[in-house]
């Protein structure tokens, strides 16, 4: 079995599964959020903040945020190992992706719960 120290699930099979499960979550959340926006064309602040104040929406949003982190990491890791052959460059790319993903997750939590 080929293992790689930077792969998220320690094996290609786990990464493959993480990628699919998080994809389904992100697809469902995209439809949910875009659906809400399409169905509320004259959205005002009261409706919008009420929407994100509901525990269900916050939990779903946090689930989507964590899924985004894992999904983006597996995807960008795949791209980096496919196209970036130089070890230093690949490590730099992965480090930036990991840092940005971490920032997104913490920032997202602050937006959702820090109000």
């Amino acid at each position: 079995m080929v293992t790689n120290v930077t792969s998220l699930g320690r094996s290609g099979l786990y990464d493959w599964m993480i990628q699919r499960v998080t994809a389904v979550v992100l697809a469902a959340y995209s439809v949910f959020l875009l659906g809400f926006l399409v169905l509320n064309p004259d959205l005002n602040f009261a409706q919008w903040s009420e929407f994100f104040n509901s525990t269900c929406v916050r939990i779903f949003s946090l689930l989507a945020l964590f899924s985004l982190g894992a999904h983006a990491w597996v995807g960008l890791w795949t791209i980096s190992t496919d196209y970036l052959k130089a070890l230093g460059l690949r490590f730099l790319f992965q480090a930036i992706c990991g840092l940005v993903t971490f920032i997104y997750v913490v920032w997202g939590i602050q937006i959702l719960w820090g109000l």
Binding site: A23, L76, W107
Partner: protein
């Protein structure tokens, strides 16, 4: 030139090693192109999420900043950026659904994958145009 100290068995093993092909020398079939665009839109979305999170933060901060965001989104340039991110999302979404279907064994033949690529392009173009109409 094979070094003299390399045994015959080792040569045979090394000959079977995968070779990194020069991708610029190939003409890509349609499924390969839709796959590459799927990857490219993934990278675009990873960057675009920063913009979307920033908009979300401003829109939830206060009524004033919500209205400021709303006004800002009416500008052509900002709207165009949002349409770009949305287009990336819609394409990535459609190509991702196709991916999941192929994981279940749907459209795995040569003909099926070309058809799947065509359907991916048509459906995502329709959705992107609808998104543009919705935004403007």
């Amino acid at each position: 030139m094979i070094p003299a100290n390399l045994r015959e068995s080792e040569c045979a093993v090394n000959d079977k090693r995968p070779v990194n092909l020069d991708l610029s020398q190939f003409s890509f079939p349609l499924p390969a192109l839709t796959s590459i665009v799927h990857r490219a839109t993934g990278i675009i979305l990873f960057v675009g999420i920063a913009i979307l999170l920033y908009i979300l933060e401003l829109s939830l901060a206060s009524e004033d900043s919500f209205n400021a965001v709303k006004e800002c989104l009416d500008g052509f340039f900002v709207k165009f950026i949002i349409w770009g991110i949305l287009s990336g999302l819609l394409y990535h979404f459609v190509a991702g659904i196709k991916h999941l279907l192929m994981d279940f064994g749907v459209g795995e033949t040569l003909e099926g994958s070309v058809l799947g690529a065509k359907v991916t392009i048509v459906v995502s173009v329709v959705l992107i145009l609808l998104a543009g109409a919705w935004l403007w």
